[in-house]
């Protein structure tokens, strides 16, 4: 009786707990298996669409593609030059290719730690950017002049991105420092500027710079539309990046600044050698994030009539024979954006590892 008393309440409990665990595990195994097989199935469908049943022949049109049942990559085969180069004159496409390669090489080179001094990076970018500009615009060395409004596709996207980041980054540092000063007038008014820009949608800023500004400025100050748009992007980028840098500056322990002061370092030296490097280090993840966002946002120029990658993509399928193939074109463009953004974020991850971020 006493044994029963002891074991009876215990035995069912163990059994119940055990069975509950088994059921739970079984359920989760089943659920996982179901989800996994669903995922695999979807992945297979995508794979089948993109590769197995796809049509790639350059002669194929709607009929052949529909018969194939999969993706119609023929649209890319026929229209890839439009997607990559936009309205850039057909015979001069090689210049666009060369210019893009220069920018890509410059970006890759500036990722090499050996080149990380202000002078070396400065020279690298000066050379890279001038090369890009001369190749794209021409008018020198016997290259025919191709005005900015004819630029398009990937090279325009890269140009807007790199130019706005190149202008925006130094501007962001200046804004961050101005906002961080102890002079209330300066810090308050800088704060006002930054917060105003941040509280406006990028679209409205772009529209104001591209369309409205020419009505207000005297003619000589208007300049090419492309550069007004780049200034707009740079301002927008700088406003956000300034806050990221300021966050980084505030994350540097106060003792660092005080120690530097105690050593008799000037403001310039304290900033350049002690505070900013550390601020950059802590704000790196957010900065890379901002870069990726800035790259994506270049596609908004389509609203002010530029033929960036996305707009050229639209034009590529919007013609009688290809109207049905928009999914393929968008998938292709998405892949291009993915390659660049993924590259950027992977590089960011490498930098974080290298700097031992989160470990030190």
């Amino acid at each position: 009786m006493s044994e029963l008393n002891l074991s009876l309440p215990l035995a069912p409990t163990v059994a119940r707990v055990a069975s509950r665990r088994v059921i739970k595990r079984l359920l989760s195994v089943l659920l996982s298996a179901a989800c996994l097989s669903m995922l695999i199935w979807v992945a297979w469908l995508c794979f089948e669409w993109a590769f197995v049943n796809a049509t790639v022949s350059s002669d194929a049109r709607q009929a052949e593609c529909v018969a194939g049942g999969g993706a119609c990559w023929s649209v890319i085969v026929n229209r890839w030059r439009l997607i990559f180069f936009g309205l850039y004159p057909f015979e001069e496409h090689w210049r666009s290719v060369a210019a893009c390669s220069i920018i890509v090489v410059t970006v890759i080179l500036s990722c090499v730690p050996a080149l990380w001094t202000a002078t070396r990076l400065g020279i690298l970018w000066l050379v890279g950017f001038t090369g890009f500009y001369i190749l794209m615009r021409g008018g020198l060395f016997g290259l025919s002049l191709i005005r900015e409004e004819q630029w398009g596709g990937l090279s325009l996207t890269l140009f807007i991105f790199s130019a706005s980041v190149l202008i925006g980054m130094p501007l962001a540092i200046v804004l961050a420092l101005l906002r961080d000063t102890k002079l209330p007038w300066i810090s308050k008014s800088t704060g006002l500027i930054i917060d105003t820009i941040r509280s406006l949608p990028l679209l409205s800023i772009l529209f104001a710079f591209a369309v409205v500004l020419p009505f207000m400025l005297p003619d000589m100050m208007v300049g090419e539309k492309l550069y007004r748009v780049i200034v707009a992007y740079a301002l927008y980028f700088a406003a956000y990046q300034a806050e990221i840098i300021r966050g980084g500056l505030q994350g540097v322990p106060k003792g660092q600044d005080e120690a530097a002061k105690a050593m008799g370092m000037s403001y310039r030296h304290r900033m350049a050698y002690v505070l900013l490097p550390q601020a950059f280090r802590t704000s790196l993840p957010a900065t890379i994030n901002q870069f990726v966002v800035a790259f994506m946002e270049t596609s908004l120029v389509v609203v002010v009539g530029f033929f960036d990658l996305l707009a050229s993509g639209n034009a590529a399928y919007r013609t009688a024979e290809w109207t049905f193939a928009f999914v393929e074109v968008y998938a292709f463009i998405a892949a291009i954006y993915f390659i660049f953004s993924f590259g950027l974020s992977q590089y960011g991850a490498y930098l974080e590892r290298r700097m031992g971020l989160g470990k030190r």
């Binding site: 309205l87 398009g152 369309v211 409205v212 639209n314 919007r318 109207t323």
Partner: protein, 347 residues
């Protein structure tokens, strides 16, 4: 080095040609024309993407389409060659400020003439160069040719659109009953129509004709004869430049006159050599008088027909039977063929 010298020489040449081109401007009344001549190019709008049939881009990145050809015709009238037209990509919202601010010289972007565009925005319209009708697409297997015969059918229509009201009123007028399927997105609509959920599909004409090309077999669908509403597509110019508007109107007129008289880009040289009437002689510049009042060369119309074509050629190669869209002329035919388009009289 040689190339560099060549470039310099070319720059000088361009400078000289601009000075040269700028010379006869004393007799020119139009401010816009003066600007265009001194710039050496006519700026027209394109799209930030494309608009099927009216402005699209070919494999080599060149613009083509009815709007684009009209711009080329304008440029030919001014410069004698269509190559001096420059297409500036613009989004829909940008078109008004771009014209007001002078980024473009004339707006040819499938835009209808409306009261507010005329008055509040401060533009002037040319004569309509295209009448965009609201039409109905039907499955061919139904064997109908006009809406009257579609009593009891179902019609696909964009929810909350003008067309929804139009079709209801029109059905009432014809005293037939239609069941409407109103959907929010045009992709859904097209899907519903193609899957035979609807017998009919009502839309803006060009959009409809283009939808038809997406069908598995475009010949399985026909446009009904009915026209439910008309949107007159015009060229727009800034106010207070009547002389420039005159040029726009006369370019449209010249395209239509050439068609009326059977003058095409193929036979224009023969006809110019032996014109059949004094009007045609004057029109083609064999006799003087067509250019001076407009501030253009006397053979501007000849150049337009020679290099761009007459209205029929423009229409057919861009949106008509010579194009994938296969839109019949119908209301956009000349008056003598049952349409409403007509040229002005050349006296």
């Amino acid at each position: 080095m040689k190339k560099g010298l060549g470039a310099i020489a070319m720059a000088f040449g361009m400078f000289a040609s601009q000075v040269f081109a700028a010379q006869p401007t004393e007799s020119i009344k139009s401010e816009t024309l003066k600007t265009v001549l001194s710039r050496g190019a006519l700026n027209c709008p394109g799209h930030n993407g494309s608009y099927l049939g009216f402005a699209e881009i070919d494999d080599k990145g060149n613009w083509k389409g009815l709007d684009i050809d009209l711009c080329r015709a304008m440029a030919t009238a001014v410069f004698g060659t269509p190559d001096k037209s420059k297409i500036i990509p613009l989004s829909w919202v940008q078109r008004w400020p771009a014209l007001q601010g002078g980024d473009i010289d004339i707006l040819i972007k499938i835009s209808a003439g409306t009261l507010s565009r005329d008055t509040e925005l401060g533009f002037q319209f040319s004569n309509p160069y295209y009448l965009g009708a609201t039409r109905i697409l039907a499955h061919k297997k139904l064997e109908i040719s006009e809406l009257k015969e579609a009593d009891g059918g179902t019609v696909c229509v964009l929810a909350g659109s003008v067309q929804e009201k139009l079709i209801a009123n029109y059905a009432q007028k014809l005293d037939i009953k239609l069941q409407t399927v109103a959907l929010d997105k045009s992709e859904e609509l097209q899907e519903a129509y193609f899957s035979s959920r609807c017998d009919l599909y009502i839309e803006f004409g060009p959009t409809l004709a283009i939808t038809r090309t997406k069908a598995a077999n475009p010949d399985d669908h026909i446009l009904l004869k009915d026209t439910l509403a008309l949107s007159p597509e015009v060229m727009l110019v800034r106010q207070n430049d009547d002389a420039w508007l005159d040029i726009a109107n006369w370019v449209i007129s010249a395209l239509l006159f050439a068609e009326q008289e059977g003058i095409t880009s193929q036979n224009v040289d023969d006809i110019k050599a032996a014109p059949s009437s004094p009007e045609i002689a004057k029109f083609l510049g064999a006799k003087p008088g067509l250019g001076k009042p407009l501030g253009l060369d006397d053979d501007w119309a000849y150049n337009v027909v020679k290099h761009v074509g007459n209205y029929s050629e423009l229409y057919e190669r861009n949106i008509g039977m010579g194009s994938p869209y296969k839109m019949p002329r119908e209301i956009n035919a000349l008056w003598q063929n049952g349409g409403v388009l007509y040229p002005y009289v050349i006296d």
